[in-house]
């Protein structure tokens, strides 16, 4: 395997990590109006991701920077092309991030309610738009001879793109609600489990439609069986997650919904391979792993960094999750404002 292909996998790994991890943060954020009956509930929900949302979001920064380093042309075309969609994502991520921090600094219920709303919007918008963006990358976009995207925001809002967005929205929602069930106690935990079951059914229907469409659209490529296998794996994991949740196995349910996200993003990556941004104007204009990548030397340097750092990163991040492994109990939420 050449280094450019290896870096396609590494960048893919960072995006998968981002969607698996920040994916449940989005779901936790979106679950506030459904699960939070009072302020203590809402604080309990937010505190399940309190120590980790920032490191989860950092996966996006690393994915973006790796894209820049390994595939500058992909980075340039994608980010300038999907301009307004990315602007919306950025605004949403800003609102969400500061709201976690500001919410508990206030003194009034109105203050908390305002930041709760921002957490919900700030979680739902990226959950939807990341799906729209990645579905469009796979489907192909109008890219001209200079590698520039010539469409608008509306170009992205086509049926397949919207179905992709709806899929990630529901998938992350269920994934997050599952996380709340895993990390809280009492009545809240029961409510989260019941909601995860109901949301799971809707997710299965939508995700199955999206995955089937993706598989059917790529039947003519050489590695079509791999795409189909990954999609089937995602579907099985998703059904397994819902069944495990019904059986009261919260750990399994969460693990399987993480596997669903992993396999669904892997399906997308396999479907675009060996392109990174196919052009709908002329296949000759498509950005590929080969023509969008950095030089051999840059990729070598980056490979050394990645080989040393990724295991270390996984180790200390895993340790963090272990330190905060306990459930956030209702009793642990103090009365009144916190510091």
């Amino acid at each position: 395997m050449d280094l450019a292909t290896l870096w396609f996998l590494i960048v893919g790994f960072f995006f998968i990590g981002y969607f698996v991890l920040d994916g449940f943060d989005f779901g936790v954020g979106m679950s506030l109006p459904f699960l939070g009956k009072d302020d203590t509930d809402r604080r309990q929900i937010i505190n399940t991701i309190g120590p980790v949302w920032d490191l989860n979001e950092t996966w996006l920064i690393v994915a973006g920077a790796s894209l820049f380093a390994a595939f500058p042309y992909w980075y340039a075309t994608l980010f300038s092309g999907f301009y307004l969609a990315l602007l919306l994502i950025l605004v949403a991520l800003i609102l969400r991030g500061v709201s976690f921090e500001y919410r508990h600094q206030g003194r009034s219920p109105e203050w908390s309610a305002a930041f709760d709303r921002m957490i919900v919007i700030g979680s739902a918008v990226p959950a939807l738009l990341w799906g729209v963006a990645f579905a469009n990358i796979v489907q192909g976009t109008p890219i001209d001879a200079d590698g520039n995207f010539t469409g608008t925001l509306l170009t992205l809002l086509n049926p397949y793109g919207l179905l992709g967005g709806l899929t990630t929205l529901l998938l992350f929602f269920t994934h997050g609600v599952q996380f709340v069930a895993l990390k809280t106690d009492g009545e809240l935990r029961e409510r989260a489990r019941a909601l995860a079951s109901r949301a799971g059914i809707a997710t299965i229907v939508v995700a199955a439609a999206f995955l089937t469409w993706t598989v059917l659209a790529h039947l003519d490529v050489a590695h079509a069986p791999l795409i189909a296998a990954l999609a089937a794996g995602a579907a099985v994991a998703l059904i397994g997650a819902t069944l495990a949740n019904r059986a009261g196995r919260e750990g399994w349910a969460f693990g399987l919904s993480a596997a669903t996200t992993l396999l669904a993003v892997a399906t997308i990556l396999a479907a675009m391979f060996p392109n990174v941004m196919p052009s709908t104007i002329d296949p000759a204009y498509s950005l590929t792993i080969e023509n969008a990548s950095s030089t051999e030397y840059t990729l070598q340097v980056m490979t050394w960094v990645a080989v040393f750092m990724i295991p270390l990163v996984l180790l200390y991040q895993g340790w963090t999750y272990w330190v905060f492994r306990k459930r956030v109990t209702r009793a642990s939420i103090p009365v009144g404002a916190a510091h």
């Binding site: 604080r43 937010i46 505190n47 309190g50 120590p51 980790v52 920032d54 490191l55 979001e57 950092t58 996006l60 920064i61 690393v62 973006g64 920077a65 790796s66 820049f68 380093a69 390994a70 500058p72 980075y75 340039a76 075309t77 980010f79 300038s80 092309g81 301009y83 307004l84 990315l86 602007l87 605004v91 800003i94 609102l95 991030g97 500061v98 976690f100 921090e101 500001y102 919410r103 508990h104 600094q105 590698g147 520039n148 950095s294 030089t295 840059t298 340097v301 980056m302 960094v305 990645a306 750092m309 990163v313 200390y316 991040q317 963090t320 330190v323 905060f324 642990s332 939420i333 510091h339």
Partner: protein, 468 residues
Amino acid sequence: MLDWLDPLALARWQFGLTTLYHFLFVPLTIGMAFLVALLQTAWVRTAKLKYLHLTRLFGRIFLINFAMGVVTGIVQEFQFGMNWSDYSRFVGDVFGAPLAMEGLLAFFLEATFIGLWIFGWDKLPAKLHLASIWVVSISTMLSAYFILAANAFMQNPVGFTINEERGRAELTDIVAVLTNPVVLASFPHTIFASIMFAAVVVVAIAAYHLSRGQYDETMRTALRFGGVTNLVAFAGVALSGDQLSLVMVATQPMKMAAAEALYETAGPASFSIFSLGTPDGSSEVFSIRVPYLLSLLSTHTLTGEVEGINDLQAQYVEQFGPGDYTPIIWVTYWSFRWMIGLGSLAALISAVGLWLTRGGRTPAGWAWKVAIWAAPLPMIASLVGWIFTEMGRQPWLVFGLMKTEDGVSPNVTGLEVLISLVVFTVLYGALAVVEFRLIRRAAIEGPKEWEDHSDADDIDRSKLATVY
């Protein structure tokens, strides 16, 4: 007249605005993480309660500030691709590597250990918890190194070759990129400036409480600690700044000439305290000068020759073809002076403050007010310093290789950039108000939550738990 839908002008304004705004939070994060780590070390070592109070108080301010640094940082990374896609294509092979290293080596560490530190008070043993704030502090500095190395490439490109066929700069020597003489000087300069920034905030908060006669012992410690740290950091800023000037004269002589509004090559060269040029910026009308000082700063000799703007302009026309290679002189000239002036003033105020509070003395009321109002000085000095560095590089985006006008995204419309510029301006403005109020309130409250604790044995670590 500014064309309101000119993508280049709008993209430049957006970059300037969002970068400066981001840099309101970055130095406070870098500096405060370091100071909090020092305070917590003192607490763990001495078990004196005042150090715990200060760790918690400044830790809280650090956290309010930290979230803004993170979220505005994502905008920075996205912006290269969104508004400057041709720049990204041209330099990505070189410029992307330090950015990716920053993410993998620094950001992950920072984000992980900040979570451990905030939420780990009751979950980690005291020493491990202390170690986590040190990891945060070191990783903030590490990330500064990588991003400054990337910036150094734009000021003084090294370790690359131009591939004519692909039309891009290609990396040939990563070590050269990471040991660019510019970053070796700009890194300590930035770190020390950041520590000054945080130290002056510590002094201001301590002065506020002392002026009201509250938390006397704790706040006196904070005041002296902040004052001493500020002076030490100022020495670091001055020394590294001197080194940075030497590098600048060697690599970007036009920037130094523009910083001085030195139109004609001179040796010995005098340093101008005040200068007025003709409106077209081609010559000088009036100035007040200190003889020999510019030669001394630029070459470390009394009579060394310093190249002037007019000679450099002629030289660049010959080298790069017709065009204007002069930055906007009044911007570079004044930003350079305000940077030095305000930074020095902050140090002077600390020195006077330390003198006035020596041996337990209490100064007059005006002294506290000065200390409080001096809080923004290093912040403004940092911002104008960046304005100087980046405006002084113009018209180049990457010095000698790519002009700013050639780096902008060709397919992004002026309207799109205008929308994002307006959105960021409004959003950032609103958040600045919230942010300032929260920091102000935390500062005014001080270590209030701790009044009922009288000695270290009283501390139950489970009570230290942070909950959102």
